[in-house]
C-alpha cells in the first residue's frame, strides 16, 4: 500500500489575466500554487475544497491535460513533463479521468460503442472484432447490458451515462483514475450505486483514485486519505479518519461543521460557522491566505505564509494548528 504511484513537487498553474482599461494591467491567478502531494498505489485520495480552490485544475495538471507553470509530476518515478509527445501519449493509457457532467462529457452524435471504441482505436488496441468484444466487456464491467452498445447517450439516464463515462476511462486498463466530481450530478440513490461500482472496480482492477469533490459526506465513506485545498494551496493532508475526527487546520474545521447532518436530533449542536466570502484569487491576502476569515489569526498570520509541516503523521499549513 505504501508505494507512491504519482507525486507532485512544487506544482503550480498560474493564469495570466488582463484587467483594467484595454486589459492593460496584467495580473496572475494562482489556481494551483506550489503543491507537493504523494498518492500511493491502490488508495483513494480525496481532494476537497470549495469552488475556485483549484482542485479541478490540480487534477488536470497532474494528468498533463493542462500544462503546468512550475514544478513537476512524477509517475512511478518518471517525470511526466520530461516525456516527449509520443511517449506521453503512450503514458495516457495509464492515466484516465471521469468527468462530472454525464450530459456534457459524452458526444451526443456517437453511439455508445463508438464512444467506448475511441480510446481503444487511439491506442491501437486490436482488430475491429477485438475492439467490439472489449466494448461489450466494458459495459459488463460497469453493470450495463451489452445490447445497449448501439444506443445513443440521450437514451440513458444520468446514472447510466456516468457508468458509460467510467467504462470509457477504463478502456485501456488504466492504473490511475481522476474522478472529477464524478457523482456530484447524481441523485442520492443513484450516487450510492455509482460509488459502489467505483469501489468494486478499484478492487478488481487495482485502481488508484484521485477523487475530486466538494461533498464531504461522500469523502468520509469513500476515501483513504484526504487533502483540503484553499485558494490554490494544500492546507491539510491526513487520513480520512484523522481529518474528520481531529481537523487541525481551522478551515478544515469550519468546512466540516458546515455540512448539514441528516439527523434532526443533532440540529442544536454547536456549529461554528465561517463568515464572509472567499477572497478573490486575483488579490490574495498577504501571509496565510485564510487569515481574513480565521478567528484565530495572529500578527504572524498576516505576514508569513505557513508551510505544510508534519504534525504527527498529518500535515497542516497553519501557524496555530488546532489541538483537539
Amino acid at each position: 500500500m505504501s508505494d507512491v504511484l504519482i507525486s507532485t513537487a512544487g506544482l503550480s498553474k498560474h493564469y495570466p489575466v488582463g484587467t483594467g482599461f484595454f486589459r492593460s494591467q496584467h495580473k496572475v491567478i494562482r489556481a494551483v500554487d506550489g503543491i507537493d502531494l504523494e498518492i500511493r498505489e491502490r488508495e483513494t485520495f480525496a481532494l476537497v475544497g470549495e469552488s475556485g480552490c483549484g482542485k479541478t485544475t490540480l487534477g488536470r495538471v497532474m494528468l498533463r491535460l493542462i500544462e503546468r507553470t512550475e514544478g513537476a509530476v512524477h509517475y512511478r518515478g518518471q517525470d511526466l513533463h520530461a516525456l516527449d509527445e509520443p511517449a506521453m501519449r503512450a503514458m495516457r493509457k495509464k492515466l484516465q479521468i471521469v468527468f462530472q457532467d454525464p450530459f456534457a462529457s459524452l458526444n451526443p452524435r456517437k453511439r455508445v460503442k463508438d464512444i467506448l471504441a475511441e480510446p481503444l482505436r487511439a491506442h491501437a488496441y486490436g482488430t475491429r472484432a477485438e475492439i467490439e468484444e472489449r466494448c461489450g466487456e466494458l459495459l459488463d464491467m460497469v453493470g450495463l447490458r451489452r445490447q445497449l452498445l448501439r444506443r445513443y447517450p440521450h437514451q440513458f439516464s444520468g446514472g447510466q451515462r456516468q457508468r458509460i463515462g467510467i467504462a470509457r476511462a477504463l478502456a485501456n486498463n488504466p492504473e490511475f483514475v481522476v474522478c472529477d466530481e464524478a457523482v456530484s450530478a447524481l441523485d442520492v440513490s443513484i450516487q450510492a450505486q455509482v460509488l459502489n461500482l467505483l469501489r468494486d472496480l478499484q478492487e478488481q482492477l487495482k485502481l488508484t483514485y484521485l477523487f475530486i469533490t466538494h461533498d464531504l459526506s461522500v469523502v468520509r465513506q469513500f476515501a483513504d486519505r484526504v487533502g483540503v485545498m484553499f485558494l490554490g494551496r494544500m492546507v491539510e493532508v491526513g487520513t480520512t479518519e484523522e481529518i474528520f475526527a481531529k481537523p487541525r487546520h481551522p478551515y478544515t474545521m469550519f468546512l466540516m461543521s458546515a455540512v448539514p447532518r441528516p439527523d434532526p436530533h443533532q440540529r442544536n449542536r454547536e456549529r461554528p460557522l465561517l463568515t464572509g466570502d472567499i477572497p478573490s484569487p486575483m488579490n490574495l491576502p498577504s501571509g496565510c491566505r485564510f487569515h481574513t476569515r480565521c478567528p484565530f489569526a495572529q500578527a504572524i498570520c498576516r505576514n508569513e505564509e505557513p508551510a505544510l509541516s508534519d504534525r504527527g503523521g498529518h500535515t497542516v499549513a497553519c501557524h496555530f494548528p488546532l489541538d483537539q
Binding site: 442520492v188 450510492a192 464531504l216 458546515a258 441528516p262 465561517l274 466570502d277
Partner: protein
Amino acid sequence: MTNRDILLSVRNLRTEFKTLNGPVRVVDGVSFDVGRGRIVGLVGESGSGKSITALSLMGLVPSPPGTVSADSIILDGTDLARLNSDEMRRKRGREVSMVFQEPMTSLNPVKTMVQQVGEPLAIHTNLNKRAIREKVLQMFETVGIPEPKARLDVYPHQLSGGLRQRAMIAMGLICEPKLLIADEPTTALDVTTQAQILRLMMALRERAGTAIIMITHDLGIIAEMCDEVNVMYAGQIVEQAGVFDLFDRPSHPYTRGLLASIPKATEKRTAERLNSIPGVVPNLAKLPAGCRFHPRCGDAMPICKLKQPELTDLGNGHKARCWLHDKEGAKA
C-alpha cells in the same frame, strides 16, 4: 394544528403538461398544509415533481403546455385556485414569494440590485424611489450583505454567488410575505455559504414569522431546518410526517431507501457497500401499474403491482402511501 394556525392548505393539486406523446401528469393529487411560521420540506429526487408543485402554487406554470388544477389552494382564507391571473399577480411577491435555485440566471443582468430587489415594492406599494431605496438598504442589512450601501447600484455579476442568493432572499422578503417558497436555494452554493444562508433563513423565520416551503433533494438540509416533511416520488407525496418522526420512523420503503443511501459525514468508512435503491425513477409518461415505487421496492407484494395505495394515516399526522400500512394491504 387548529384551522387558525394553518397558513396554506393545498388539496389535490394536479399539474399536467401536454407532450407529443399525450398529456403527462407531473404532479398528481398533492395535498399538504403549512402552518404559520413553520418550515415545511418538500424532498425528492430529480423528476419527483417538487419544483413543479412550487411553480403551480405560485401560478407560474406556463400554459400551454401546462394545466394546473386543484380542489383548493387556500392561502390565509383566499382560494388561489379560483383567482384569475391579475388577482394572482397581486398576491405574488406580496403574500407569497419565491427564491429560485440559480442566483445567476434568476437575476436580471442589466438591472442594478436596487432596481430588482426593490421591484416588488414598486409594483405592490406606492412608495417613492427614495423610500424604496431606503427599504432595500434595510433589507440588505437584514440578510447580512456586507457594505450594503455599496451594493445598491451594482449589477448581479459584480456579486459572489452567496451575495446574489442573499439578494434574492431580500427580494423575496421585501414585501414581508406570509409564505416564502425556496426552491433549492443553496444547491449552487458551497457548503460554508450554504450554512450561512440556511442560518439566515431560520433567523428570518424567527424574526418575521415567515412560513417557508423548503424544496430540496438534500435530507441533511431537511433535518437541519424543517418542522414537517413531505417526501415526493413520481409526482405524488409518498410520506408526510414531522421531521423527528420521519427520521426516527421512516415508514415508506422509498424514504427508508433514501435515508440509507446518504453517505453520513459523521460515520466511519466501512468496508461495506453503501445501501442504494436499485433501478431508476420511472418515466412519468409510462408509470408502472399499481404503486409507482413497486419495481424498485424490496417489500413489494402482489397487491402493489395491481392497485395504487392511498396515503394511510399512521397517527400523529404521520402518513405513508404504502400497502404495508394499509388494512387492505395487510389482508392481501
